[in-house]
Subunit: 92 residues, 5 copies
């Protein structure tokens, strides 16, 4: 999974029926400090994320493993809202 | 999912039988403003997109999750025509 | 899917039994004009392609969705021979 | 699979129910000598790894093939702790 | 599939039970002439490859389509030892 920040919403009227009722969010990939990286993804929201949220993004076939996304043509889903990333000094 | 713009059609007579009757469109990846990015994909159309359409593209195994593409050797499908991408100021 | 040009054949005697009898072709990724790009793939041929053919290449799990490739350890398959790519002026 | 070093832990309260009880670790991709590479992944731990561990990371649909991760929206899992990478002189 | 050269072995005691008894090999991606490319993969051996072998590497979900790798958390497998890559002059 990767980190992302939600930066917008995507509106589409004409779409596959399996996307009906799903919230499509534009996500910018970020690093663990929240600094923006180059790629972005449009992802379905499975955890009530909102704009500005710092989230965990699951992609590939795993993106269909939530109640909201199962059997839908969806390759990216927001699966968590990040509270904290705890980086410790690593002795090894 | 990613954004793309449809820029052409692909014609192929000799092909796998599971591609019969499917519209193959050449799609250029774009950003949320419609600016072209580097990659392109040939995708099957599931939403009556046409040339010039600003679309949502689903890829990987999820691309087989539409009525039109199920069980076919297809790794990219157009699943929506984008009306609008709404980017708000982010307070967080 | 992506475009590729077949540039050679791959010969392997010692291989997984599910690759037996499958033609392995070396494919160079190209753009829609046939200009070579950087990546290449070894793909199984499902459409009687030959060296020099301009082809459509399907990869990932979708590559197992042809009669020839099902249930085999194959991640790329040639699914069409391209006749033409039709790029129109786009007004939108 | 790739090599990675565990560099931190990820805390998330609001998340998909299938992530409950799973340890999310921040992993930096490394080469076989342990030198850091550019990408990182958030992965679920299936082998009691800890911070600083030099691990094997499995991604894609294969990441759901452990007892801990099956049927969950998880695209990366730590499947081994590396004891040693043995590089020999290659005569061929 | 891609070409790779086996450059080492990976030893791991603490690992997912579905990796037990599987030979983990460090593979460097190469081009069709055997020249090294940038990426590497840890792959399971399904064809009795050894160090220095010039091999075919299958990745993604297809990597679980051999007897040795099925149902295991494995995303890359060696599926053939390459005898020869035959590049012809292409007239088209």
């Amino acid at each position: 999974m990767i980190f992302a920040k939600v930066i917008g919403t995507v509106v589409a009227t004409q779409k596959d029926k399996n996307l009906d009722g799903k919230k499509l969010l534009l996500c910018k990939e970020v690093d663990h400090n929240g600094n923006p990286l180059n790629s972005y993804h449009v992802a379905v929201d499975a955890v009530q994320a909102g704009e500005g949220s710092f989230v965990l993004l699951t992609y590939g076939s795993a993106a269909r493993m939530t109640e909201i996304t199962k059997n839908a043509p969806i390759d990216a889903v927001i699966t968590a809202i990040i509270d904290e990333v705890d980086i410790r000094k690593v002795s090894k």
